[in-house]
Amino acid sequence: MRKSVFLGALTVAGLAAAAAAAGTVDDVKARGKLNCGVATGVPGFAAPDANGEWEGFDVAVCRAVAAAVLGDPKAVEFVPTTGKTRFTALASGEIDMLARNTTWTFSRDVDLKFEFVGVNYYDGQGFMVPKALGVSSAKELDGATVCIQTGTTTELNLADFFRVNNMSYEPVPIETNAEAQQQYLAGACDVYTTDASGLAATRATFENSADHILLPEIISKEPLAPLVRHGDSEWGDIVRWTLNALIAAEEYGVTSTNIGELSAGTDNPEINRLLGTEGKLGEMLGLDADWAKRAIMAGGNYGEIFAKNIGESTPIGLARGLNAQWKDGGLLYSPPFR
């Protein structure tokens, strides 16, 4: 890759024209960094701390992929994207993968030419209201003022919900969670609607969180999934199976603490294949044998990542719910490592 100095003086790897066609995984390896698109700030899912280190549930997926491919969970460049810029950033190759609470929909998958690699969080759109409002069901919200976060599928679901139930409402579209929360708390809207996880996370940070309730209705399915570009299956496979490795690791009881002894070899061939002591799964992906081990060590298995960033012990305080393993009644179900 030849660097043109005139542009290169301004941007490292300014013209990576030829390299882009060679496949994302080679690009990432050549660059030594994974460019991962995240949200500009969603509590628990992606937010920079005072040192500029990104943290959160979506961020952990990026780190796991970086660990699997590059061997270093820190080798990630986080690219903050908005609802508007995220798809272009991915389509143009500015980022290698997008892990920004993005709902997997038909048209995004087929029409926008992206490949969703699996669901990392099963969400649904819910409503939060102040207790004082005396509302117990979303069906009682006729005439209410509703704060919505734009740039997502939220406003479409909301329009459909109120239309189907023959109710009127006053939408207040807002760009960021922080502003929506401010309006909601000041009473500028009666209801705040967004993904239920976001609602719970927002409610957790309120001064008097007990004064607000989430309504029972979940009006949409929001499978939030990391995605990559269409047409680069090798790269898609890597991201997909890294995510699956995190989920499978929890299922098999592989955690960041016991992974050292488990990778010495166990009686369970499934774990052995996952951790690379048996079979050649890593090689098939174009990686080395320890790829999944590194991905899991980056931030722990799915359950550990969940507990650390958004779980019940964190201020966000989300229950596993649909995001429990299939054995525990949830929807997480990693295909077998075989």
């Binding site: 030849r2 660097k3 043109s4 100095v5 005139f6 542009l7 290169g8 003086a9 301004l10 941007t11 490292v12 790897a13 300014g14 013209l15 990576a16 024209a17 030829a18 882009a20 066609a21 500009t40 700030g41 969603v42 509590p43 628990g44 992606a46 937010a47 920079p48 701390d49 005072a50 040192n51 500029g52 460049e77 690219v79 903050p80 994207t81 908005t82 508007k84 810029t85 272009t88 950033a89 143009s92 190759g93 500015e94 760009e175 960021t176 969670n177 922080a178 929360q181 401010q182 708390l185 996370a201 927002t202 957790a204 940070t205 309120f206 001064e207 964190t314 201020p315 966000i316």
Partner: protein, 440 residues
């Protein structure tokens, strides 16, 4: 008779009485107040109303701003501190802990903290480089050489990398000039300019890559490279503003000349460009940067977002700059053009030696206000997800510690912007006055 008369004159002053103090109502504080605040009953009412307004605003802001929360590390801690200070009741006050914890981030974004000296040095040197232009009467003219070198130092300090890169970009100008001199010995002016441009382009686009790689291999001098997406905060705003204005200056001069040119097509192209850019909001140009610019480039090209934003903001600034410089050109007396013609100078010589030095000088206040405008407009990049100060507020408010903070961040950002812009606008006014007297 005369004697009696003299006698009847009871009193003739033969000494001056000492000068009396003016009446209380026209001197000192009271006199000043009487003259400036209470001269008529209407004025008095307005004064009282203004005082009430000032008092009301201060009474709202000051007790809120004076708040013992500097050391707090989260919003809930702030609330505890305020409640404690207020005797258990939930108190009302600012939470300054967020500024203490995040001000470095608001200034530098994600720029590596051990390298913060580089942007600081770059901006201090910027002041040094601008001094010969802005305060030409107070600093030695030799500093102008540093000003010429500065456009190469600035990106090198900010982005880092090998020192040969900026040197080779600078060498391109040398190569171009050399080609110009060589060709001008055998051919005409236009051809040699063309030759110079072509030679420089060949150097930049083709040769310099190899030369730099070779030199960097041989003598690796350089700074640790920093990715432009680590830029953020005010550093990003200033960088965008400075780069856009610096790059738009030469482009703006060309466009302004194009717009005043006698050549019909050139004029229409210039007018079309200027009016198009000035006719659309900056935010749509930023949408172009964030979503379309990569589509306009050859397939596979990938500029990073900051570079794309720099390109679009530069185009934006260029259109405004062209109008400022056109104003400067129009303000020059016609005699200057005729004088240049009568000396037998050709178009470019006249521009270079007579017109531009004067036109640019009277344009400086306009250029400074354009810079202020562009600098303020850099806040718009937060809408496309860049981490300028406003964009960072989103990230900070998404931190569970600081979720719910509003006024402290906005107030701090507004204050910093105010300090920057106000001092620049004052300078521009000072300059305007100085230029004004100079031309009388």
């Amino acid at each position: 008779m005369s004697g009696t008369h003299a006698h009847t004159v009871g009193f003739t002053r033969d000494t001056m009485i000492p000068q009396a103090d003016p009446p209380m109502t026209s001197v000192g504080a009271i006199g000043w107040a009487h003259k400036n605040l209470f001269s008529t009953w209407f004025n008095a009412i307005v004064t009282v109303a203004s005082l009430a307004l000032i008092f009301y605003v201060l009474a709202m802001i000051v007790p809120w701003a004076i708040s013992p929360t500097w050391e707090s590390s989260s919003l809930s801690e702030c609330r505890d501190i305020l409640a404690a200070a207020n005797g258990g009741e939930s108190g009302h006050g600012a939470c300054w802990g967020v500024i203490r914890e995040r001000w470095v981030q608001l200034m530098f974004g994600f720029y590596p903290s051990h390298l913060h000296w580089r942007p600081v040095a770059a901006f201090i040197l910027l002041g040094v480089a601008l001094a010969p232009v802005l305060f030409s009467d107070k600093v030695p003219a030799k500093l102008l050489y540093f000003t010429l070198a500065y456009p190469f130092i600035f990106p090198w300090l900010l982005w880092g990398g090998t020192i040969w890169a900026p040197l080779s970009v600078a060498a391109g100008f040398g190569v171009g000039y050399l080609a110009y001199r060589i060709v001008s010995a055998v051919a005409g002016d236009l051809l040699s300019v063309l030759a110079g441009v072509v030679a420089a382009l060949v150097w930049w686009l083709v040769l310099s890559g190899y030369v730099v790689d070779a030199l960097a291999g041989l003598i690796p001098i350089g700074l640790e490279p920093v990715q432009s997406r680590d830029f953020g905060g005010f550093m990003l705003s200033i960088t965008i503003g400075v780069v856009a204005i610096a790059a738009s200056l030469p482009l703006g001069v060309l466009l302004a000349l194009g717009r005043r040119s006698d050549l019909l097509i050139v004029r229409y192209l210039s007018v079309g460009f200027i009016e198009f850019i000035r006719g659309v909001p900056l935010i749509t140009l930023l949408f172009v940067a964030s979503t379309l610019l990569n589509i306009f480039m050859p397939p596979g090209t990938d500029f990073d977002i900051i570079l794309r934003v720099l390109i679009m903001v530069t185009l934006f600034a260029t259109a405004y700059m062209a109008e400022v410089i056109r104003g400067g050109l129009a303000a020059l007396p016609k005699g200057q053009y005729e004088g240049a013609d009568s000396l037998g100078l050709n178009y470019w010589q006249a521009q270079r030696l007579i017109i531009m030095p004067q036109a640019l000088k009277i344009s400086i206040p306009g250029i400074v206000s354009t810079f202020i405008g562009v600098f303020k407009d850099t806040t718009l990049v937060s809408i496309i997800g860049l981490m300028d100060p406003l964009g960072l507020t989103n990230g900070i408010r998404a931190d569970t510690n600081w979720n719910g903070i509003v006024w402290e961040l906005y107030g701090f950002i507004a204050l910093v912007f105010f300090v920057f812009c106000f001092s620049m606008s004052r300078y521009s006014m000072y300059l305007e006055r100085r230029l004004h007297t100079g031309r009388k």
